[in-house]
């Protein structure tokens, strides 16, 4: 029984439930404890080594996100200020879980329409533009060029939705591409943002942050900076896909209507 649970669990985690079911039905035919164990371990190995690329990306991304927050909590114990912190962490874990499930489900569908590369490119551009904007803002750097990138993310998402719908002549495929790009962008941005925060103790400390830190009456500047930056990163984890999805859906819907009208 436990062997069946192991196969079912790994198959679900790797996005291969049908193959898991196939393996379980074969396991039923096998007699002998040792042979069943050997078969199960082989199946688990097969499921892990043939994991689809996007599933691997989702799992690694999820694990890396959780690791970033765990490392921050261990390295800066001052981040835990009460029950509210743990509620925020629980919410964060739920969001990361939703990201992983969403990426696996959408990726599985998108592979069939051959739009993964387009979604990945759009995600890279969206995440990159948000990162530059965020960096410029943290520097109190009101330069026109980096701040103008604020519009690049939504524009890329809009174009991605329109292009994917036009290419496949299918609104569901366009929406899947938009969804995948939005989630990939959010994940990539959080990994870059959170990773940098933990690696450099929330640096650079600009004048605004120093002023806020002194006003807060805190004792440790690094803890304050990490808390501030990770909070921003978590907000971006929600904001980026939301904005990208909205823009992408608009692009896909407009093109879909035109395609239908032309037909």
């Amino acid at each position: 029984m436990r062997l069946a649970v192991l196969i079912a669990f790994v198959a679900t985690a790797m996005g291969r439930r049908q193959w898991g079911k196939a393996m379980l039905s074969e396991l039923e035919q096998i007699v002998g404890r040792r042979e069943r164990l050997r078969f199960t371990l082989g199946c688990v190995g097969a499921l892990v080594t043939t994991v689809p690329l996007l599933t691997a990306v989702a799992l690694v991304g999820g694990l890396a996100s959780l690791t970033i927050v765990a490392v921050a909590l261990v390295r800066y114990p001052g981040l835990v200020t009460g029950v509210g912190t743990w509620l925020a962490v629980a919410f964060f874990v739920a969001v990361v879980g939703a990201y992983v499930v969403g990426l696996v489900a959408l990726g599985h569908r998108l592979v069939e329409s051959g739009l993964v590369a387009a979604a990945a490119l759009a995600a890279g551009l969206i995440a990159g533009s948000w990162w530059v904007v965020g960096f410029a803002a943290s520097q109190h750097f009101p330069a026109a060029v980096p701040m103008s990138l604020l519009v690049l993310g939504p524009v890329v998402a809009l174009g991605n939705g329109a292009w994917a719908t036009l290419r496949t002549r299918s609104l569901p495929s366009g929406l899947t591409c938009v969804g995948l790009a939005s989630l990939l962008a959010g994940f990539a941005l959080f990994l870059a943002w959170g990773g940098q925060t933990v690696a450099f103790a929330g640096r650079p400390y600009d004048a605004g942050m120093l002023r806020d830190f002194h006003a807060s009456g805190g004792h440790d500047l690094a803890t304050y900076a990490v808390s501030d930056s990770l909070g921003s990163g978590m907000m971006l984890l929600l904001l980026v896909p939301l904005v990208s999805l909205t823009a992408g859906l608009a692009g896909a819907a407009v093109v879909s209507r035109r395609v239908r009208a032309a037909e």
């Binding site: 035919q29 082989g42 190995g45 097969a46 080594t49």
Partner: protein, 102 residues
């Protein structure tokens, strides 16, 4: 024209076994036992062949009491691939034999 990736010896063995009776649906575990392939080798091959459209899979219809098993057989492309793989293998064997006797 896309370059055809060479199959591993185990994949060729599996393709040949399936090509021997192309209309027959086969169980995964039985194929593994027949060809001496452990599940850790067999399933990655089955998964890859299915994803490349070379293998068809279906669930058997059974009476109640036990779960249905997954069945496999070659698609038309899979059968062509099996024949091509067998030709490549036999010409490689011939070449080796010729070199050995030269």
């Amino acid at each position: 024209m896309p370059r055809r990736r060479a199959h591993s010896a185990q994949t060729v063995t599996l393709l040949r076994a399936l090509a021997a009776e192309p209309r027959q649906w086969r169980y995964g575990y039985d194929l593994g036992v027949e060809l001496g392939l452990k599940s850790g080798s067999l399933y990655p091959i089955l998964i890859r062949l299915c994803e490349r459209g070379l293998l068809d899979s279906t669930w058997e219809t059974v009476e109640t009491g036990r779960p249905p098993r997954h069945l496999y057989r070659l698609t038309r492309d899979g059968l062509s691939e099996a024949h091509a793989a067998a030709r490549v293998r036999s010409s490689a064997t011939t070449r080796r034999t010729t070199l050995g006797t030269a």
